[in-house]
Structures are given as C-alpha cells and as structure tokens.
Symmetry: C2
Subunit: 357 residues, 2 copies
C-alpha cells in the first residue's frame, strides 16, 4: 500500500485498526455469513454495536447522568436547524468565530431572535473572539469550539449562565472536556470519531420540551432519545466504524493520552513555524491556535513559492495540505489518528524546501 | 464463510460483488494509500464517484431532463417532513396504504391540510386501496408504492392531475418505472440500492420554490440541487456502496432483466403458497401482492407450528423470515440481490416441513 501522510481536514485519517476491523465486518460480520450492511438494524448484533458505541462515548467523555448520546443522519449541518427547532423559544446568543458558526447563525434566525455577542470577522476569523456579557434572557449560548478553516480553537472553558451549546465537529475527543458545563454538544463524526454519514449529539434531557412550536418527529431530539437512535434505520456502517474508532481511542489511554499526543504534534509544527522557519508563518493568533488544524502561509518574500512547495509536498506523500480558499496557503490537520511521525515528516519536508532558497 | 439465505426486510442482502468492491475501497481506494472513508468529499476521487452514481440513476431509470437526483442523510423518515416543507402550500392528498404512509401523513399535517383519499386500514392494510377522485386543488398526491410490513405493492401506474410523489423505499429499481409520471420519488437506500445511511430523492425542479414558508437550508431541496448533494459532507461510504450496487444492476441487464428475475422469485414462492401448500397461506390480497416482501402465515390448523418452523428454517440458514409483529407469521423479502436459489431453498424447506405433518 502506498505510504501517504493524510492531513485532510475531514473526512480525514482514521485509526488503521478501525478501518481494517470495519472492512472485515463489511465482508462478514461476526461469522454471520452476512455483511455488516446486510444485517437488520433491529438485530441483536446491531443493538450490541449501538449500545457499545453509546457506552464508549459516555466512558471516554465521562458524560454525567441526565445526558443522552444520539447518532443521527444529516451531518452537523442538519443540527444547525434541529438545535433551534428544539431549544430556541424567543432568543439565542451565538459566537461568530468562523464560517460554520455563521451558517449556524443563519439557520437559528429562522426560529427567533439571535444575538451575536462576539465575532472575529474583523480579522478574517484569525482569532477566537472573547466571550463576555452573555445575555441571561437567551435560551442558550452557541459556540463553535474549533474553526477548521481558520485554524483557531477555544482554549479554556466557559461558565455560561445560560445553557451552553457547542459544535465540536472538529475537536471532539481530542482532549478531555467537562460535559456538565454544556447543554448540548454536537458535530459530524468525520474528524476524530469516524466516517462521514453520522452526527453525534450529546444532549441534556432537562432542556427539552420547553419550546411551544410543533417539531417534526425526525427533528425532535426526544424521538431519538426514546428510541436510542433507532427510531428509523440508522447509518449502521457509520455507527460501527465510529465504535471501532472509539475503541482505538480507549486503547491509546483515553483522552488524557490523546490530548498529550495532540499537543506534541501541534508543538512540533508550531515550534518549527515560530522558532526556525523564515519562509513559513502561522496565520492564527497565537493564543487561539488550533491543535487540530494548523494554518500557515509563506512570508511575503517567498509568496510565489507556494505552488512549488505544494508540488514538492505532494511528491513526498503529503495529502490535503492546501489551505482553504478563505485563508490560502497551507493547512495541516492533525487529528487524533495522525501519528507524530506524519507531522515530523511534514516539518522535514518544509525544512528541506526552505534550505533550497 | 457461512452459507445463509438473507431474507431481511432492510437493511438486506446486497450484491456480493458490490460488498467486496466496497470492502476493498475501504482498505485502499484506487491505490491512493487511503481508505474510502479517509478521502476528502471535495477530492476528484469522490466527485467521480458521486457523478457516476448520479449518472447510473439517470441511466437505469431513464430519468428525463428537468429532474435531479439527490443523495441525502437522515433516511426516508426525514423526507416525511422535508417533502411537505418544500411542496405543501395549502393542501396535500395522501394514500394510506400502511404504517409508513401513516407516518408520512402525520408529518405532512404539521404543514397544512391533508386529505387521506384512500386507505386500507379497514383490513389491516392487506390490500392496496383504489385511488380515485384525486383532488385537483392538492399540491401533490403522496403514495407509498410498496408496503414492506404488509407485503402489498401498487401495480399499474397512476395518472394524477396533481404532482405525484412516491415513497419507493422498498421497490425502487426492482422494475422499470416511468419517472415522467412523478414529481418526486424518494426512499431510503437500504433495500435494493445500497446500505443504510443515504436517502435518494428524484425531484422535478419545476415544482420547487412555490411555497411561501422559510425553509431551513438543509431541508430545502434547492440547496442540494445547486450543490449536487455536496452542500455539506455527504455519506461518502453509502454513496460509494450505492454506486457499486447500481453497477451490478446494470451488469444484470438493467431493470427489465431485474424485473423478470424478481417476478420469477415471487412466482416461485406465491406459486407454492397458492397451488401446493396446505400449511402456509399468503396474507396479502392477490391483486396487491408485493414482489419484494412476501408475507404468509400458517393456516388455523397448523398455527401452533409457527415457532417450530422458524427454528427449522433458521437451522437451514434462513435469516430474517419472521413476520413483522403487525402481521405475524412470516415474511420473505426477495429484493434484487436475493438469488432465485434462495427462494427455492426456502420453498424446499417449507415443503419438507409440511411433509412431516
């Protein structure tokens, strides 16, 4: 198999053992003579997978009682409307920290008043805006903890007087979090926890049932809580692969160990950018730097070399390092399953390139 | 690998070649050094898969110009509300032919007046109700062409004076259809066209944009038309497996050939029930019999032998033949990928069992 270093922003690199176990189940699940995708979602086999996956979520994140873990179709983008459908009575507060936050804000406005209480749009979202003066009359405060496109991440925690809702699509399971500080945590699985095709929602049950509007059955969190995400046919494959991914996280030592590795990977690349390189420079404000998506560009002097470096990196097996068009330059996503050796190889490639000039 | 005959009602048996090609892609897509679930949905690799899948849908069903094929998350159950969101201005007509139709009706009522113009609830949905007097002031008429639970199917076609909308979750691609007679055709993929985790929607663009309500972005068909189902991260795996399943249908000779095989399978089992068996009897009205889900029970005299037969059949490798609790008895789902030999094995098993008494 060709050796590549996968820096894709999502879908992205997954643990090889999870991929291989899922491929085996795809050929023959537990010796059943059937593929994982040929079994009934009402079978004991799938119920065991679904229950194990829920249990791993609860264990790895130490999710307290009173919360439910849901696995839903439609991606985090569907949650942008599902969330206000369930929680926005009159007014909600949102933090505009990037493109995905903007999309969430747009959908919430269909359901009520939206107060954007902080934004970093003035500097192309290159920093995480300070969160203060959370309105006490808001039904919730919505944040996006990691901004994949701009390479910023919220560090430290927020004590919100209203329920805190977080889109954690791109940093869930990258470090321990205190779930009790949140009302809802949601995201697409396709970064740290599995393949595209399933969204996770961790929801505090006590927050539900307060809005007056009629909610379509499939968009009502209570439907999926009551049926343990088996109200309708779930994305069986994606749940299986997610379960295998979580098993791998657990086998690494859980989120403390994962967080230490993620810190090491980020330090390796940021360290090179800050302390050594004269050619490459990080784009995000240092205090807001993401540990998942590391964005950098070439300095003015070398700006015309970006295309050349992309080609060199590609030839060296680096995949997905072209930056998003909103920022330009480069982006190395260093999700859980990317080994430290991948980041080291990228830095070595940058160093070699820099030497030529 | 253990030999089984998979009669699951869905998720269900899929073509082995499609399963194996997908498993290979899961390990290494096109020699890229990455799994199918590790590539970007914006990559050329995935765009080629998505485009090929759309093209196969259009080719196999001879979909005319003016229609779009969408691949969405959330299953057919999400379409129950997405459809009226987009199409129900004041009033819609629905045919109540089973449980799934009832669920669709329930969601539509959140969006406007619903006229249930035909129902077979009086006889536990054991026949397909006659459709007449379609109200001309309805925005659309909604039908469920095959009722998985009750084993009934709509035969013949409907000439509707208003746009015809069909949930074809369980008989899509089982036979040729005249798409031009429909405004929207939708369903979950997990019967004849792929794994769970993706819904298909074939929609006539001219019908959209007429309702006055604001539609959340993800629930607006126009969003997905504009982005070729790539507005947000699609269920990459499910689309790939669907594409491989459609390639297999094409390799069988397309829908004419598939329909002939499905007819032969159904005739084999219905023929045994009608002409030979004194122990087993079909539950659906003969004129409404489904070619996809064949429901039968034991006659009064042998009613106490159902459990015993289930065990015998299970020991002979028959999977998923227990009937839905709403009907009882047995259900053999004979979707596209089930070979004729599977039905013959089941009939032989029934025949042998009957001989014992």
């Amino acid at each position: 198999m060709k050796q590549v270093y996968n820096f894709n922003a999502g879908p992205c690199i997954l643990p090889r053992v999870a991929v291989e176990k899922t491929a085996q189940a795809l050929l023959d699940l537990n010796g059943s003579g059937m593929s994982l995708i040929e079994i009934s979602h009402r079978s004991k086999d799938f119920e065991a997978i679904n229950s194990e996956c829920i249990a791993l979520w609860k264990e790895l994140l130490s999710i307290p009682d009173g919360y439910h873990v849901l696995f839903l179709g439609g991606g985090a983008s569907l949650q942008f409307c599902m969330l206000p459908y369930n929680l926005l009575g009159a007014k909600a507060a949102y933090v505009e920290s990037g493109s995905w936050a903007k999309k969430a804000i747009k959908e919430a406005k269909l359901f009520g008043e939206v107060a954007v209480i902080a934004s970093s749009s003035d500097k192309n979202y290159s920093y995480y805006p300070a969160i203060a003066d959370i309105p006490r009359d808001a039904d919730y405060l919505h944040i996006t903890t990691n901004n994949t496109i701009y390479g910023t991440e919220l560090h430290g925690s927020i004590d919100s007087p209203v329920p805190l809702v977080a889109d954690m699509s791109s940093d869930i399971m990258s470090r321990p979090i205190d779930v009790s500080k949140y009302g809802v945590i949601y995201g697409g699985a396709q970064k740290n926890v599995g393949p595209a095709g399933v969204a996770f929602v961790i929801v505090k049950e006590a927050l539900l049932g307060k809005v007056k509007r009629a909610i379509p059955t499939m968009l009502d969190y209570r439907t999926h809580i009551a049926e343990k995400s088996l109200f309708n046919t779930p994305p069986v494959f994606a749940v299986y692969a997610m379960c295998e991914t979580l098993k791998w996280i657990k086998a690494q030592g859980g989120l403390q160990a994962i967080a230490a590795l993620n810190r090491k990977k980020a330090d390796t690349l940021y360290g090179y950018l800050d302390n050594e390189s004269k050619m490459f420079v990080g784009t995000a404000d240092k205090a807001s730097r993401s540990l998942m998506n590391i964005c950098f560009v070439m300095t003015e002097q070398y700006k015309d070399k970006e295309e050349e470096f992309l080609n060199v990196a590609k030839a060296a097996g680096m995949v997905g390092i072209k930056g998003h068009r909103s920022v330009g330059g480069f982006r190395a996503s260093t999700y859980n399953a990317l080994p430290l050796s991948g980041v080291q190889a990228l830095v070595e490639c940058m160093r070699e390139f820099e030497k030529k000039f």
